[in-house]
């Protein structure tokens, strides 16, 4: 194909705002619904890790894909049980405020009341989700300026 002889388009004919939309500056947020499902999976895995240490009462159900096991939150006597590591972390006011919305969204996904969702569980599960997404985590850090390091 040869180039057209003569003038091309008028570069300023159309409104440039149309061709160059301002990207919306939204605070990066985890897509809650989808990720909480992943979080559940992580929790299940964590739960199975714990119950692995308990005697297996059902060696005769080999056809069954999952062993019957006591879920983590039922098996523990307190929310801090088996949580011997304390990771203290400091957050911005903005992040702290977003936690409430996040908590409601996760509770909705679980179809439970928000007050039945323990913050320690929520935070650990969210952290496990983040560990499965190092690239997205890096993106947020880039937004904070790590790209210039």
């Amino acid at each position: 194909m040869t180039m057209k002889s003569g003038a091309g388009d008028d570069p300023f004919a159309d409104d440039t705002s149309e061709t160059d939309p301002e990207p919306e500056q939204e605070p990066p947020q985890e897509p809650v619904g989808e990720e909480s499902a992943t979080g559940q999976k992580v929790n299940d895995k964590a739960a199975s890790d714990i119950s692995d240490s308990s005697p297996d009462p059902s060696s005769d159900t080999e056809d069954s894909p999952e062993k019957p096991e006591i879920p983590r939150i039922m098996a523990r006597s307190s929310v801090k049980e088996n949580r011997d590591s304390v990771l203290q972390f400091f957050v911005t006011e903005d992040t702290a405020q977003q936690e409430d919305a996040f908590e409601r969204a996760v509770a909705d996904a679980l179809e439970i009341r928000t007050k039945d969702l323990m913050k320690l569980d929520l935070r650990e599960a969210a952290y496990l989700v983040a560990m499965q997404h190092p690239e997205e985590t890096a993106e947020i850090l880039n937004d904070w300026g790590y790209e210039y390091r």
Partner: protein, 290 residues
């Protein structure tokens, strides 16, 4: 409005001197002209017209800063003037244009979400539109480096039309074919139509060659309004004195040479033809008509 990018894949074909001389001719015809010098090399149009004082100043505001939306000052303060022509000069930062656009793209795309693609080759046009350049100028000329890349792509997107100086040789013809593939790719990816206003055979030494060359280029389907003869002495004088050919002949030649005056007349005629193509009305005619 007349907008074009002067482009040649091969260097040393008088691209920059042609851009500067056409700009001065447009200004002489009463038009308000803005040149954007996108060539990061030292011997660029900014040097030719003597407006490159800040080229190596790392703290200067530059067109690149505006293109990535991190301006250090007002757009109007970027503009220098020489021989009646406004110029946004070249700067060392142009060497980093590609990297900076990539960084801006990473940033904007991360902030906006997955489906957003940062238009990295539409940033020059955005800067010009945002700063009311189309209303303030009659002619916009972009002079990019002689290599394909973000400088050229931004220039083509901002002007949509090309003026192509070429050496009349096998190399010149190849350069046109190379440009065709670049333009095809840009037209597809940016969804624009690019036109070739003129191909300007430049530096011919023998008049007997000229008609052969003209036919060859016209055979490729492009207008050849003028063929410029080899004027090495005149062009070198322009670079030494840092001025246009018009000013050089006027101020630095003690004796006018007919063949040089003829070349100046050809450039004026070319400028007028390009203006006519864009339906620009001469200031004088406008006044008469009113």
């Amino acid at each position: 409005m007349l907008t074009y990018t002067t482009y040649s894949e091969a260097g040393g074909v008088g691209k920059t001197t042609l851009a500067a001389n056409l700009a001065v001719a447009h200004a002489d015809n009463g038009h308000k002209v803005l040149i954007i010098d996108m060539d990061q090399q030292d011997g660029s149009l900014s040097h030719l017209l003597g407006v490159d004082a800040d080229r190596h100043d790392p703290d200067a505001d530059t067109i690149v800063h505006h293109m990535i939306d991190r301006p250090r000052g007002d757009f109007d303060d970027l503009i220098k003037t020489s021989e009646g022509v406004d110029i946004i000069p070249s700067h060392d930062a142009l060497e980093s244009l590609g990297d900076w656009l990539d960084k801006a793209a990473d940033f904007e795309e991360a902030a906006a979400g997955e489906d957003y693609e940062y238009p990295r080759f539409e940033q020059l046009r955005r800067v010009l539109a945002d700063n009311d350049v189309p209303n303030q100028y009659d002619v916009i000329i972009v002079d990019p480096p002689a290599t394909a890349g973000p400088h050229l792509y931004n220039g083509i997107d901002a002007t949509r039309s090309l003026v192509i100086p070429m050496e009349l040789s096998g190399k010149g013809k190849q350069s046109i074919q190379g440009l065709e593939s670049v333009v095809d790719g840009l037209e597809d990816s940016l969804e624009i139509a690019v036109g070739v206003l003129a191909v300007i055979p430049n530096g011919t030494k023998r008049t007997t060659d000229q008609e052969t060359y003209r036919k060859e280029v016209e055979g490729l389907g492009y207008e050849v309004p003028v063929i410029l003869a080899d004027r090495t002495s005149l062009m070198e004088g322009c670079w030494t004195q840092q001025c246009s050919a018009f000013k050089y002949v006027e101020e630095h030649r003690d004796r006018k040479r007919d063949y040089e005056l003829e070349t100046l007349e050809q450039i004026r005629s070319l400028a007028a033809q390009l203006e006519a193509e864009a339906n620009l009305v001469d200031e004088e005619e406008e006044v008469t008509a009113a």
